[in-house]
């Protein structure tokens, strides 16, 4: 695991790198012991749910439960398929994709404008956008609902994506503006000297250099849209339009009042596995983005 989470790596290159610090470092055995124990606690819920969804329905509902499935079974996932999971996967994917694309386009254009062009009110507008972070999105849901009704976007996946894009924008603009501001002016000038238009310069010269920032923005947009629950719960009224997190609520109120645990947890697994995979593949970008956003 390269796990380039490591901000540790940012040491001055001249310095010799120590494998472990001279002081304060726990002996290897103790350190492995502690970390291993904590890691087991962190992995326990995930490992258990991944094992349980492979049980048969009746085994998943057994009291007392056991850790390992006696028979491996795809029954829970087959039932999810019968319960139309594909529709909800598609809904979630549409909203997440729309949010990612919209956020990346708006933040790239806006970040470029804020970083490279002088216009009246520039810093005021930029700071104004950032201060929207002070107002929690949860507080605005009541009036947003009325705005969406007015725009005829209530109960619509498009409306939901538009709302998600808006609340991703402050962070995304901040990241993109900083990324563009770091690019040497000469590169841009050279492109414009060749007669390239603004958008061509942006597309051919600036964006390729700022790709890590674009990936960061896209990842954050994806996670927030894929995982968001409250706004989706409020704005979507037809079950056929539910996103995965809201769909999970329908799995709880199963037939005959009894919860089908295998089915519910299979739904949970379908919801979380894409997040885990994307995180494991792209964690370098994700961590960097978190740091830059959090340190403000």
């Amino acid at each position: 695991m390269t796990a380039a989470t490591a901000p540790t790596d940012r040491r001055a290159p001249g310095r010799p790198r120590r494998r472990s610090a001279p002081r304060q470092a726990l002996p290897d055995v103790v350190w492995w012991g502690i970390c291993g124990l904590v890691a087991i606690m962190f992995l326990f819920p995930l490992a258990m749910v991944l094992l349980t969804v492979l049980k048969t329905s009746s085994e998943a509902a057994a009291t007392p439960p056991h850790y390992l499935p006696h028979h491996l079974s795809g029954q829970n996932f087959r039932e999810l398929g019968d319960a139309d999971i594909w529709r909800y996967l598609l809904n979630s994917s549409e909203v997440a994709l729309g949010t990612v694309v919209g956020t990346v386009i708006l933040a790239t254009l806006g970040g470029y404008g804020f970083a490279r062009y002088r216009f009246p009110g520039r810093s005021l507008l930029f700071l104004g956008t950032l201060t929207t972070l002070m107002v929690p999105f949860q507080a605005l849901l009541t009036p947003l609902y009325s705005v969406l009704i007015f725009l005829d976007l209530q109960n619509s996946l498009v409306g939901l994506a538009l709302v998600y894009i808006t609340f991703q924008l402050p962070f995304a603009l901040f990241v993109m503006r900083n990324a563009f501001a770091e690019i040497p002016q000469e590169i841009e000038d050279a492109s414009e000297m060749d007669g390239a238009s603004t958008l061509t310069t942006l597309r051919r010269v600036m964006i390729p250099v700022a790709i890590p920032a674009v990936v960061t923005v896209a990842l954050f947009a994806f996670f927030s849209a894929w995982n968001e629950f409250l706004a989706a719960l409020i704005f979507l009224s037809d079950q056929s339009r539910y996103t995965l997190p809201v769909y999970l609520t329908t799995l709880v109120t199963g037939r005959l009042g009894a919860i089908n645990w295998g089915l519910l947890e299979a739904g949970v697994v379908v919801t979380i596995v894409p997040c885990l995979l994307i995180f494991l593949l792209l964690q370098r970008y994700y961590m960097r983005g978190l740091m830059s956003g959090a340190v403000r």
Partner: protein
């Protein structure tokens, strides 16, 4: 803004009288392009943020049902809030929840950061494992714990019993305290990796020499931590506190899903009560009024903490 460069050049002037208007049109052109570039983003912020913000205040001054007439009632909603026991109970509960979650996240997050801050074999793996639950959504994580904590089918009770901590399954959602404990357990599991990451970044900012100096002076590990490391981490601590407090004050998903606000509405948070008022009881004006109050509370908390942060940075 506008008149920045070129002024030095124009003094020298006679040779290039034609340049100035051209420079100006060029500058105007660039200003126009800049505005065009940022305008789509600003349009979104206007329609889906500024308009709702103003509308929220306007709605809070009305009786505003989902359908039918709205009517101006001035500060009526705010007065109703004052005498609404559910509102006060939910506010009290949210504050209590925040006061429990925040220190746990800070202490455990800091501990984990100390554990994995340095390069050594296997550290990348542990960092990844500790952080991983953070990318799961609150809703999915909540449903995961609904199952894990279930006394009949969940594996937590079985594990606690086989380790000898408990002798029979615990009815986690039967009392307010246990339900609160269950939610805190889930939230810490899910979010402490993020706090760890912030502290790792903060620790990174402390030069190695500082610790070496302390150790040369004969300071013990504990003294170094208390007298050197923690004071230097004040900015990080303030940041983590702000994020943890704001996040917890806005808690909804985990209570909606795990406790359902129960038992007997005792674990209802403010956002939960706003949700119920606006979208279950359809008293949108009342929901808006509570949203205004919640927003103000959070802005005050953030402003106070930012002020303290600035004060300490200057000293």
């Amino acid at each position: 803004m506008g008149a920045v460069p070129a002024s030095g050049r124009s003094l020298g002037g006679r040779a290039r009288p034609r340049h100035r208007p051209r420079a100006r049109t060029l500058r105007r052109r660039r200003a126009l392009i800049g505005l065009l570039l940022v305008s789509p983003a600003l349009a979104f912020v206007t329609v889906f943020f500024l308009v709702p913000l103003v509308l929220m205040i306007w709605m809070s001054l009305h009786r505003w049902p989902l359908l039918g007439h709205t009517s101006w009632i001035g500060l009526g909603n705010y007065r109703a809030m004052g005498s609404d026991p559910v509102f006060w109970r939910s506010l009290g509960f949210t504050v209590e929840y925040t006061a429990i979650v925040t220190p746990i996240l800070i202490v455990l997050g800091f501990g984990l950061a100390l554990l994995v801050r340095r390069r050594r074999r296997g550290v990348g793996f542990f960092r990844t494992v500790f952080f991983m639950p953070y990318v799961i959504g609150f809703a999915a994580a909540s449903y995961l714990f609904v199952w894990l904590l279930n006394p009949d089918v969940g594996l937590l009770d079985k594990t606690l019993q086989s380790l000898g901590f408990t002798s029979s399954p615990v009815q986690w959602l039967s009392t307010r305290t246990l339900a609160l404990f269950a939610v805190v357990l889930m939230i810490v599991w899910k979010t402490v990796g993020f706090t760890m990451l912030l502290f790792m970044a903060g620790l990174q900012g402390i030069p190695e020499d500082v610790h070496e100096a302390a150790s040369v002076d004969g300071a013990s590990r504990w003294t170094t931590l208390r007298r050197v490391t923690l004071p230097l981490l004040r900015r990080t601590i303030a940041l983590t506190v702000i994020l943890a407090v704001v996040g917890s004050m806005l808690a909804f998903d985990q209570f909606y899903i795990i406790t359902n606000g129960g038992p007997a509405n005792q674990t209802l948070t403010v956002v939960y009560w706003i949700y119920n008022s606006s979208f279950v009881n359809f008293q949108l004006g009342y929901g808006a009024a509570m949203s205004v109050v919640l927003m103000l509370i959070l802005m005050v908390i953030t402003a106070v903490q930012l002020y303290l942060l600035r004060d300490q940075a200057e000293r």
